[in-house]
């Protein structure tokens, strides 16, 4: 297991932090990723499509 996975797989404060700070979408996305046993090409493509570039965070809502 990699450190990053370990960090987020810890079902305690970290995941709750994500839920509070980034909302349910980010929370369910990471929980889903942690428990995906065999990702498919479609899963990988979905992950790439969901990633937001740095500039998109600077746009006003």
């Amino acid at each position: 297991m990699t450190p990053e996975t370990a960090a987020l797989a810890y079902l305690g404060v970290t995941l709750l932090d994500i839920l509070i700070t980034r909302g349910p979408d980010a929370y369910f996305r990471i929980v889903n990723a942690i428990f995906t046993p065999n990702p498919t090409l479609a899963d990988i493509e979905k992950m790439i499509a969901q990633a937001k570039d740095p500039d998109s965070y600077l746009l006003n809502p």
Binding site: M1, T2, P3, E4, T5, A6, A7, L8, A9, Y10, L11, T14, L16, D17, I18, L19, T21, R22, A26, F28, R29, I30, V31, N32, A33, I34, F35, T36, P37, N38, P39, T40, L41, D43, I44, E45, M47, I48, Q50, A51, K52, D53, P54, D55, Y57, L58, N60
Partner: protein, 150 residues
């Protein structure tokens, strides 16, 4: 009476949270029964990339919020933005390498080296953002995994 309602709300929130986790576990378990191919390198890399993206989302999203509130200087933002793009491009390359690995056109070593670059990029970005924003920045810190998940 008012206090009891508050306790009930908190309890209800955690109960829903737990229910959501259990539901996902059950759904994932059902979904995985139809797919016999297991590759730990692929699975770990996929989880790592998702985790890196979430950690970036928390840190960069938090810093962007501070910037929008006028709490970050323009020159600081310029430097931070360059680091964020450096990380994001490294993450993108690692994701494409994962896709290539899944298709059989990239090796596990190539994938691991791309992941290392993305990790290094995020570490550099987080360190700079922390240095600039201090306690105002929200970040995810690494923790030891629970034994049942290792």
């Amino acid at each position: 009476m008012k206090r009891d309602t508050g306790v009930l709300k908190v309890f209800g929130f955690f109960a829903l949270l737990a229910l959501g986790c259990v539901g996902i576990l059950i759904l994932q378990g059902c979904a995985s029964t139809g797919d016999p191919i297991k590759d730990p390198i692929l699975t770990n890399a996929y989880r790592s990339l998702n985790s890196l993206d979430t950690a970036y989302d928390v840190a960069w999203g938090s810093f962007a919020d501070l910037y929008k509130q006028g709490l970050v200087k323009e020159e600081t933002m310029t430097a931070a933005r360059a680091m964020a793009w450096k990380y994001f491009n490294a993450w993108g390359k690692a994701s494409k390498t994962l896709k290539a690995y899944a298709s059989g056109t990239a090796s596990g070593e190539q994938l691991e080296s791309m992941l290392d670059l993305a990790r290094a990029g995020l570490d550099e970005l987080k360190a700079y953002l922390k240095e600039q924003a201090g306690d105002q920045l929200k970040v995810i810190e690494l923790k030891k995994p629970p034994d049942w998940l290792a």
